[in-house]
């Protein structure tokens, strides 16, 4: 930062900036992955891809980030650092937009979300630093393995609408975690509580690190831990998880922003594409076949995960 300040203090900012860009042009030309192709083709393709991903994500019941990072990271010429930075902003924008509705309906519960968010957001910051410090091939390989495991998790994981809770543990009682929400399908209000809170909190350390390191929204991990392990009803788990992403991803997103790992030309079309796709996806939800879409999501994750793995290992670049 000091170097940068030194460069631009003393006036002539524009001239120095232009000179910096032009003189380094030759040096960086080797980094150009797609010589001859107009620059705008990639952002346009990115917008179209993320628009489709937005539709698929809604229909498949997954967050856009988990599809975005492995697919864009594997098939676009962008460095994985910028893809992960954009992925965090994509997940963050989606979570922020969904947050108000979830909070007003009490489907995102603050007493459950706040302690978990503190753990996940602290460690997502740690994960972001780890991800930015590691060489690309290591992150790409680890991402590939993680995505393949997430695809397997989607196949084997069976969420429960109303899990059995054998009584709140000491920590849950101390924090007063529990609540009430209105279940539209039955026309009744549901009281709920959680258990196995310490174990759940420990798992959120790992979830936070993975979210920050790979730039993934971590809904795929939040929901099983909140629902299957801690016993929150599925709707509360899904709602709290989505709201939770707005906090978890904030700390990691700041790290990427501050480290120069966010390129607007990648992040903005991605955010807009995913959000527009999500709106279309919600409209298609009534007529879609959820099982078929779930298989499509699993196939996409497997393909992107394997591609990422092979790219990371230098087998398929």
């Amino acid at each position: 930062m000091l170097d940068w300040l030194a460069t631009f203090t003393g006036g002539g900012l524009a001239a120095k900036a232009t000179a910096a860009v032009t003189t380094t042009g030759a040096a960086v030309s080797t980094a150009a992955g797609t010589p001859g192709m107009p620059w705008w083709v990639w952002p346009l393709l990115l917008f179209i891809t993320t628009f489709v991903l937005g539709i698929v994500a809604v229909l498949g019941g997954v967050g856009g980030g988990v599809l975005f990072v492995p697919i864009v990271g594997s098939f676009f010429p962008f460095n994985l650092d910028f893809v992960r930075g954009a992925g965090l902003l994509v997940a963050l924008a989606g979570a922020l937009a969904a947050g108000p509705g979830l909070l007003k309906l009490n489907l995102a519960n603050l007493r459950l979300a706040l302690p978990v968010a503190l753990i996940a957001s602290t460690f997502s910051m740690v994960g972001a630093f780890i991800g930015l410090a590691l060489p690309n091939n290591v992150v790409q390989t680890a991402l590939g393995i993680t995505i393949v495991l997430i695809a397997i998790l989607f196949v084997v994981s069976k969420n429960t609408e109303f899990p059995q809770v054998g009584g709140s543990d000491k920590l849950a009682r101390f924090l007063g975690i529990g609540g009430t929400y209105y279940e539209r399908s039955s026309g009744k209000t549901v009281d709920w509580s959680v258990w196995r809170t310490p174990q759940g909190f420990l798992l959120f350390i790992a979830i936070g690190i993975m979210a920050g390191m790979f730039g993934l929204g971590a809904g795929w991990a939040n929901v099983p831990v909140l629902n299957l392990l801690m016993g929150a009803p599925l709707k509360v788990a899904v709602g709290t998880s989505k709201f939770l992403l707005s906090i978890t991803d904030t700390s990691a997103a700041w790290v990427y922003l501050n480290q120069g790992a966010v390129l607007p030309v990648i992040a903005v079309p991605s955010i807009v594409g995913i959000m527009l796709g999500s709106f279309v996806g919600v409209r298609l939800l009534a007529t879609a076949k959820p099982r078929a879409v779930k298989y499509l999501v699993i196939v996409l994750l497997l393909a992107a995960g394997l591609r990422s793995l092979l790219k990371g290992l230098g087998i398929w670049n």
């Binding site: 460095n79 947050g99 108000p100 709920w192 120069g260 607007p264 903005v268």
Partner: protein, 160 residues
């Protein structure tokens, strides 16, 4: 003995419920939770609108960019640390001094989106303080510290 939570369903005042379309019962939502929701509602859409606007300005060339869009393919394949070094990109909050360039206008929307959670927590803090809810006051305060630390750019990482 574990008890399914569905067994704890409560009926919502059946006598007043209309026969055809029963209205959803009022589930109590804390005022600070509603205030937080409104911060997210207006803030997120404002942030996304700013992103769209600034990106249009950048891509149409209405304002001079620091890096021409046509030059970007030479940079976007680089690791972030290398890009910062080679293109002399600002890190931390130094982008504020570069707002004369259209590419850095995009950072206003992104920074706004990334700041909303901090604002939300600042709304929650007095509510938990007034209730003398010590654990949640501690949690909210610690979270604010974590997020401000992340946002400050004080922490840095070595490049490869």
């Amino acid at each position: 003995m574990a008890k399914p939570q569905a067994e704890m369903l409560k009926s919502p005042a059946p006598k007043e419920a209309p026969a055809k379309a029963p209205a959803a019962p009022q589930v109590e939502v804390a005022p600070e939770q509603l205030a937080y929701a409104n911060v997210l509602l207006y803030g997120s859409w404002l942030g996304i609108a700013l992103l769209l606007l600034s990106n249009i300005i950048y891509l149409t060339g209405l304002v001079k960019p620091y890096i021409e869009p046509a030059m970007l393919p030479q940079y976007w394949g680089m690791k972030a640390s290398e890009f910062v070094q080679v293109a002399h990109m600002p890190t931390g909050w130094s982008w504020l001094k570069m707002l004369g360039y259209s590419d850095f206008l995009n950072f206003i929307g992104m920074a706004l989106l990334a700041s909303l959670t901090i604002v939300g927590y600042l709304i929650l803090l007095p509510a938990y303080l007034s209730r003398k809810d010590v654990p949640y006051t501690f949690i909210v305060l610690t979270e604010i510290v974590v997020l401000v630390l992340a946002a400050s750019g004080i922490l840095a990482v070595g490049g490869h």
